[in-house]
């Protein structure tokens, strides 16, 4: 496996991207130590999906539906399951923004890293819904 020095990587960045998108991990660092990895996002998403599954919990109430996401400790609500799903997608995105900005260093939030990264890697709201509810999730959120 090729290890790139920081200066070489900077100069030849398009080659690194091209190789990484073919599935070859590109290790970059100073001296012999890899400090960062450039890798195909879809491969990372797949690896994270296997290691960090989501298991949303549904609570049906007289006047609506609530979904708790234990892995990120956030919730969604709505008058129907689809509305609660949409609200949970919003909650997960809000959480990831706060996690990235200020929560991730805290000892009680660090363990959420794998699940938070899965949400970050999703392309859009429909992608986040797929990550949270699986490929068979019903009507995609707006």
């Amino acid at each position: 496996m090729v290890r790139w020095q920081m200066s070489e990587a900077r100069k030849d960045f398009s080659t690194l991207v091209e190789r990484a998108s073919r599935g070859e991990w590109q290790l970059v660092g100073r001296r012999a130590r890899a400090e960062v990895v450039l890798a195909d996002a879809a491969e990372i998403a797949e690896l994270l999906a296997a290691a960090f599954p989501f298991a949303p919990e549904v609570f049906a109430e007289e006047t609506g539906v609530e979904i708790w996401l234990p892995e990120l400790e956030v919730y969604g609500q709505g008058s129907t399951l689809a509305e609660a799903q949409d609200d949970l997608v919003e909650a997960a995105l809000d959480f990831v923004d706060a996690w990235e900005a200020e929560l991730r260093a805290a000892p009680n939030q660090r363990h959420k890293s794998g699940h938070a990264r899965r949400v970050q890697l999703a392309d859009d709201r429909a992608g986040v819904a797929k990550v949270l509810f699986g490929a068979t999730a019903g009507s995609p959120p707006r």
């Binding site: 549904v58 708790w68 956030v74 919730y75 900005a101 019903g138």
Partner: protein
């Protein structure tokens, strides 16, 4: 069990010294109110008040208390009703009440024709029995 409305949770956050996250330039504008709080021992708390409903069910409120606010229901009401800020002895470890339905099971029951109102109070074992029954009839 008394459960809160969104305004009660907002008042709790204010009394307990939480900071409301502003929508930073260039970042997504949220439909929720996002609040965070740092504790002296380094823990960071996060809650986002939803506008999805105007109330909270007991099982969800129990989870918000335990995981997000890390206080008891009595402490929330003391803050909301009397303006008393809570003291936090440590992380709550007891399991919150209310049996959840796994998402996939709830979705399959609705897809199989079960009215949403009949999901109320349904435990997992009974839900699985109802699903098998609905699928047999198809």
């Amino acid at each position: 069990m008394r459960t809160p409305r969104p305004g009660d949770l907002r008042r709790f956050c204010v009394i307990d010294g939480w900071v409301r996250a502003a929508d930073a330039p260039g970042r997504r504008v949220s439909r929720r109110e996002v609040w965070t709080k740092r504790l002296a021992d380094g823990r960071a708390l996060h809650t986002a008040i939803s506008k999805g409903r105007d109330e909270y069910g007991v099982p969800l409120f129990a989870r918000i208390l335990r995981a997000q606010l890390q206080v008891t229901a009595a402490q929330v009401w003391a803050a909301v009703d009397k303006g008393e800020a809570p003291q936090r002895p440590g992380v709550h470890s007891s399991r919150p009440q209310g049996e959840p339905l796994p998402f996939a099971l709830a979705e399959r029951l609705l897809a199989a024709g079960l009215p949403q109102a009949e999901l109320v109070g349904l435990g997992q074992a009974e839900a699985e029995r109802r699903l098998a029954e609905l699928e047999r009839r198809r």
